[in-house]
């Protein structure tokens, strides 16, 4: 685990074609500095996994506007201020895999937990389950869902210690802890890095094993 001085240093190498998990629900927990670093870093042809597909013209929307994202895997792209995504989508310039929010979270959890696939009740009988394997178990129908893995996860947390243990703040916790388990490399932006021993071990949400680099912004 590395405590870095800049977001670019924390981000490190991201290859073209990488799958990037991006935390946040709207702007809460959105790793804005790390997305800016990704824009600066230059990787392209990316697959982005995130709950939304960008707001306004900054953050994820700016990455999309630069034409760096080939595909978005998300649950709720359409928002009042999602004009960048909307334009790209209507122009056929971006691919979309629409995933129910709970499946998005659970599929990343599966990747992080070594689960090969799971039978899930959400989406049965809907267009989002079309073409997917189904099975009746104990009288209920389930759809088989596959893990979603990232090459890198960019998450926003509240505080880190110098080992990489993370705590979050209120509903900004959202996707961070799950994404931290599901990517090969995990980078967190935090408000503050504290000394080892500065976080209550009972309250750590993301244990240090999951975190590769942190930067305080």
């Amino acid at each position: 685990m590395k405590v870095c001085d800049t977001a670019v240093e924390a981000l490190g190498a991201v290859e073209d074609g990488a799958t990037v998990l991006v935390g946040g629900f709207g702007m809460a927990g959105m790793p804005v500095a790390l997305i800016a670093a990704l824009i600066e870093q230059g990787a392209t042809d990316l697959t982005v996994v995130s709950n939304n597909a960008g707001n306004g013209d900054t953050g994820l929307a700016a990455l999309l506007a630069e034409g760096r994202v080939r595909k978005v895997i998300c649950s709720f792209p359409r928002q009042a201020d999602s004009w960048v995504f909307d334009g790209l989508y209507r122009a056929g310039a971006i691919e979309l895999e629409l995933v129910p929010q709970g499946n998005l979270a659970e599929r990343m959890r599966a990747a992080g937990a070594g689960i090969g696939a799971f039978f899930c009740p959400t989406g049965v009988g809907t267009p989002l389950a079309e073409g997917k394997e189904t099975r009746v178990i104990d009288g209920r129908t389930y759809v088989l869902e596959m893990p979603i893995r990232g090459d890198v996860a960019l998450i926003g947390a509240h505080r880190a210690d110098r080992l990489g243990n993370l705590v979050y703040r209120r509903t900004a916790r959202n996707f961070g802890p799950v994404m931290a388990t599901a990517a090969t490399r995990v980078v967190a932006q935090v408000s503050e890095v504290v000394d080892v021993g500065g976080l209550d071990p009972e309250s750590v949400v993301t244990p240090s094993i999951y975190v590769d680099a942190v930067v305080a912004v």
């Binding site: 809460a28 649950s75 979270a105 009740p121 509903t171 996707f175």
Partner: protein, 222 residues
């Protein structure tokens, strides 16, 4: 009020209901002590009508139990929002959890009630509320499908008729489905319904008789 066959109660002098009145009806039917998720939009209004001391706890799927009312002024905290991304407050006894845990709570059947809006509901309880299937629409599903399949009871709040007069309680949904056989009650401006294996039963009508209502719907009313 006039009790009718099937236990229907007609309120000829009251209605159609406003959104606020519909929200009050829903709130009346939620058991004290329930854990409840209120969908984005109209269902959010239900919160204002939950009686004090009812012990009803609100869940927001972005990761919180015991969510409080909307935040104003100094209370606004960008790290504390509801599923509609509006600033909210925290009540004593709250807890925070991540998305996988929040949806496990929902999908595992631990919520007593969720209240959702809808484009269409079928008499057998199928729900369509995420897409009108329009060709140029940007699709978005969010938590709709998880809530539909996860909560013990799914209540729908909607106007019974679209602006063009088309009924939204239908024999079979024509819009893309959110969930199959998941809605148990429908609250509309002119009537409330119970859905189940028996089909749709009218519970109350507002400003219209049950017979007049039946004439305007294509579904067989139980």
């Amino acid at each position: 009020m006039t009790p009718r066959d099937g236990g229907c109660v007609e309120h000829p002098d009251r209605g159609p209901l406003s959104k606020v009145e519909m929200a009050a009806l829903v709130a009346r039917d939620i058991e004290p002590g329930s854990f409840v998720n209120l969908g984005i939009g109209q269902p959010t209004l239900v919160a204002d009508h939950l009686p004090a001391g009812s012990g009803i706890v609100l869940h927001t799927e972005n990761g919180m139990l015991n969510m409080g009312p909307a935040a104003t002024g100094d209370q606004v905290d960008p790290d504390l929002t509801n599923a509609g991304k509006q600033p909210v407050t925290e009540l004593p006894g709250a807890s925070y959890f991540h998305q996988a845990d929040s949806f496990a709570m929902m999908r595992g059947g631990h919520l007593d009630v969720c209240v959702l809006g809808a484009f269409q509901v079928s008499a057998s309880g199928d729900l369509a509320n995420w897409s009108t299937g329009a060709d140029d629409a940007i699709p978005a599903v969010g938590e709709a499908m998880d809530l539909a399949m996860g909560a013990k009871q799914v209540f729908v709040m909607m106007s019974l008729f679209a602006k063009d007069g088309t009924p939204k309680l239908v024999p079979s949904c024509t819009f893309p489905l959110t969930g199959v056989a998941c809605v148990s009650r429908v609250y509309t401006d002119v009537a409330t319904f119970e859905l189940g294996e028996h089909g749709a039963r009218v519970v109350e009508t507002f400003g219209i008789t049950r017979d007049a209502l039946a004439a305007r719907l294509e579904v067989d009313l139980a």
